[in-house]
Symmetry: C2
Subunit: 174 residues, 2 copies
């Protein structure tokens, strides 16, 4: 997702009237660009005991492997966003099972909502943001080529939650 804000040329940080925090405000028209943490919706998708991973075709971490995940868009619930991302990145139709983990990645102002899911059918293919898509047995996961720390976390938590249901979602590892 091309969600990295373009550098605003004419904005400055100031506390708008009635607010108590600095916001990014346009010097010309007064538009307030509120910056709030954004939600990343994703899923660990299983099929026949294997896990669906996508090799990224875009920066950052181009060429590295990830689970299907991306920015939640307006009008979506987090589980809907996770399902859309699985389709966009892996052309996969998935069935969401449950909320596996909620991670907070403060320094980039993201909250990750990661679900467990299964493939509705064994069909998948690289979407526009992926170079390759594949199903990996646990021991075949390219551990040294995972794109983000949260991919490591969520795979570990997925493993930990196997055979369980009705549990509190995992959070950031200590």
């Amino acid at each position: 997702m091309a969600n990295t804000p373009k550098a605003p040329k004419n904005f400055h940080h100031t506390v708008p009237e009635g607010d108590e925090r600095e916001r990014l405000v346009c010097r010309d028209c007064g538009f307030i660009a509120y910056e709030n943490p954004r939600i990343i919706a994703g899923s660990v998708v299983e099929h026949d005991g294997k896990i669906l991973l996508c090799k990224r075709a875009i920066f950052p971490q181009k060429g590295k492997w990830t689970i299907p995940a991306g920015f939640l868009e307006v009008g979506e619930s987090p589980d809907e966003g996770a399902a859309r991302e699985a389709y966009e990145e892996a052309m996969a139709h998935i069935e969401i099972r449950d909320l596996l983990a909620v991670y907070s990645v403060r320094h980039i102002s993201q909250v990750h909502m990661m679900y467990r899911a299964t493939l509705k059918s064994p069909d998948f293919a690289p979407g526009i943001e992926s170079q390759e898509v594949g199903l990996f047995a646990w021991d075949d996961i390219p551990w040294d080529e995972l794109a983000f720390p949260s991919v490591h976390w969520v795979l570990g938590h997925y493993r930990e939650a196997q055979g369980k249901s009705g549990f509190a979602p995992f959070t950031n590892p200590v």
Copy 2:
């Protein structure tokens, strides 16, 4: 929180290069105001079997009762945001217990992350956004004067979860 965006005078909806969705873009400087769902972080705070509620001093729903909750801010995890809101709205220091519910309120593009919490000390007072703050026994909750549907939901789910721990967070009622 004054997080309702000011009407942008000079923005139009267009699909930026490299994107696949319409975004709000400034005609003058090209600034892209990404609109993603925002997180509301809140908590059901219990003390001595009673629940902390705040009478809103601000619009919308001024004069109605709510749990402490508000927009998650940059640099916060959802549980930290919930604790900050309890302090801002009820001058209360709280201890977060666990994630009670995740609601999606699509039409206003919000995801609510609601925690269970307890008061660290029996001290509270109206913050700037509250007219009154009080502890309510279940039967004394002003059910007809609650501010938002999600306040009804979360109180019901709180009741349902009493005595339980390690459960999957509740979601929107069907």
